[in-house]
Amino acid sequence: MSSEHQDHTDEITHEDDLWNPGHRACAGCGPALAMKYVTEVAGEDTIVANATGCMEVVSTPYPESAWGTSYIHNIFENAASVAAGVEAAYQSFDRRKPDEFTSMDDMNLVAIGGDGATSDIGFRALSGMLERGHDVLYIMYDNEAYMNTGIQRSSQTPFGAETTTSPPGKESVGNDTHKKDVASIVADHGVEYVATSSIAYPQDYKDKIEKALEIEGPKFIHVYAPCPVGWNFEADKTVELARLAVETGIFPVFEMEDGELTDVRTVKDRKPVEEFLEHQGRFEHLFGDEKDEETIGEIQSFVDGRAEDLGIDG
């Protein structure tokens, strides 16, 4: 076959997909990859409890559903509690109605929320689920703002980023806070397994999901998932940007087990944060006629501090 451009689309099969094509995610959507990978590892014997947000809206416009697993969505801030309720029901069924329902041993419970649904408005539900020890894997997909409502800042929006509620201006550098360290807060609940990962490293992410699902009790994965629309970059650069975030130390990839840092993805010759920032419209104001060295310096210094704390430089 000779052709000027290779077309492999006929080689793609969706036969066994549990995150099915036809969902309404934007081209280049990072979170959609995070959903695809989690269903690939968790498998069909899974119940997903999703929070309101992009991955909810794109996947379940009635009467369609992209989910091949069992799936429930209730409201924005209670995915962890809905999952906890499902888990309690199954604990009860295991003892009282084992013939009527699938055993907890033969299935996975996964709660999913975006960064806002998880670390802001759903924080009470998350904390309660973790503290009570429900057997649930919580996945926080982090696209660093409230994208479903049109790009408003969350506690995961990085310093200096422009969102519609952190616009740069005469008196504003953009967002004026650094990311809330949710992984450490979760680990401080006594959660046995906490990890961060990125859609740029699917095998790392999938290995962590697999490891987490083997553990009984609550477990938490924070997955970094760029949003081309909210961050304002070309849709074919999603994976590249996610990788740059790790290579610049912007997004550290690590595991915490029983509260201790047990694994860190080290970065050789860590790149300056500018290499990550300059590709995105949300940081464009830092690179105007006059470069905003002060804000870029502030971001670099925060990243350097985290890199040192975590031992990222290899």
């Binding site: 069909e44 559903s65 429930i72 969505h73 809905v82 999952a83 009860s92 009470r124 539900a125």
Partner: protein, 410 residues
């Protein structure tokens, strides 16, 4: 505190909250998730004790808030579990957001609500402002007159909730019923299991047959979903009527009047009728008896159920009366009482409409005495305002000396 004593007919003297908890025990829920709040706390405490003693063997979620009590019940109910929660006042408000979704998602959930006023000012005492604020959430609402009903309504609630796939709140007045000790016939588990076999869920989340629950609906689908909730509430009247019949057969307690929708007392030949919800009915009965002893035809009508609204039963019971006095422990600020508004709307299509006077009384636990009720009967007798929709409600208990003399908007 008096010790619970067992008599020959298995009647126990029990505190209201303990009695409700024991009624819940007999329903054998798979999952209980509740958070403490005055005056409901006795329910969650007694349930905790029953779980600790191994008398209940489902899952008890020691939850972090009422918000997540409702949220965990939603998850558990979607999974196919029989679930229970209990709350009051601010707790019900905190539940409100997830609770409103339970009807749209057609999830049966039964909750006991110990009625208490809503802040501000802060108050822990009884009125009906909390459950009335949930009126439009698609929940069936029961109101108990005494502790026995507070227990029985929970069982009836399960029967109805799990038949029509809707949430039910079973209310009983804070302190007046939660903290009183009354003789109660507790349902034994064999009776309850006859009346209430284990839940047979319409749908579950079981991975053996994957389902998507909680999809979002666009304008071309949403209206039909809401219509179906409305229709299910309306049709639940027949389910309630069947449930009270069966309840009477199994337990021997008869709530079958008007298909379970309303309860009447000496109302049939009455010229004047007082209408009220909940525990105040006990005091009204005594005042009615006093009037009857003097040969005056006074009676009482008490809706057992507020949603679905018993409009037809009320028309039947109240049409042709001289006047109806509505005694209500809630107000819809800006336009009289919500209960009175609905009763008047129901009577609008009656052939022979009575005059109606509504009285806002007993807010935040203010006692309502027999003398005050007698005065309201006199005021009702004097009213000639047939279906006067614009007229003002009466506030007979208002302490004028502490109300600011005039409104002064700057």
């Amino acid at each position: 505190m008096a010790k619970a004593e067992e008599t020959e007919d298995e009647t126990e003297i029990l505190k209201g909250t303990s009695a409700v908890a024991k009624g819940v025990m007999s329903a054998d829920p798979d999952v209980v998730s509740a958070y403490p709040i005055t005056p409901q706390t006795g329910v969650v405490e007694k349930l905790s004790e029953l779980f600790a003693d191994g008398k209940m063997d489902g899952e008890f979620i020691k939850v972090d808030s009422e918000f997540n009590a409702a949220s965990t019940c939603i998850g558990a109910s979607a999974a196919g579990a029989r679930v229970f929660s209990a709350t009051s006042s601010q707790g019900l408000k905190l539940m409100s957001e997830p609770l409103f979704t339970a009807s749209g998602m057609r999830l049966p959930i039964v909750m006991a609500v110990a009625n208490r006023s809503l802040s501000a000012p802060l108050s822990i005492w009884a009125d009906h402002t909390d459950s009335f604020a949930e009126r439009d959430g698609g929940m069936i609402q029961f109101y108990a007159e005494d502790v026995q009903e507070a227990v029985d309504h929970v069982l009836l609630g399960y029967k109805v909730a799990e038949t029509v796939d809707l949430p039910v709140i079973s209310t009983f007045d804070g302190f007046i019923l939660t903290h009183v000790q009354e003789p109660v016939d507790l349902p034994d588990e064999s009776e309850t299991s006859e009346f209430l076999p284990p839940r047979d869920p319409t749908y579950t989340l079981d991975p053996s047959d994957p389902k998507t629950m909680g999809a979002y609906a666009r304008p071309e689908h949403w209206m039909e979903t809401r219509y179906e909730v409305h229709r299910a509430l309306n049709e639940s009247r027949d389910v309630i009527a069947a449930a009270v019949e069966e309840f009477a057969d199994v337990f021997g307690r008869d709530y079958t009047e008007y298909g379970g929708m309303i309860d009447t007392y000496r109302a049939e030949d009455a010229d004047y009728v007082l209408l009220a919800l909940g525990s105040i009915a006990g005091t009204i009965r005594e005042v009615v008896d006093d009037y009857r002893a003097r040969g005056e035809k006074v009676g009482m009508v008490r809706p057992r159920i507020f949603r679905p609204f018993p409009a037809e039963a009320l028309r039947d019971a109240l049409a042709g009366k001289e006047a109806v006095g509505i005694l209500t422990k809630e107000v819809s600020p800006g336009y009289e009482s919500a209960l009175a508004g609905e009763v008047k709307a129901a009577l609008y299509s009656a052939d022979d409409r009575p005059a109606v006077q509504d009285f806002i009384i007993g807010l935040a636990g203010r006692d309502v005495t027999k003398d005050e009720i007698a005065e309201m009967i006199e005021e009702t007798k004097a009213t000639e305002r047939e279906m006067d929709f614009a007229d003002e409600e009466s506030w007979p208990q208002l302490r004028d000396e502490i109300v600011n003399e005039e409104v002064d908007f700057k």
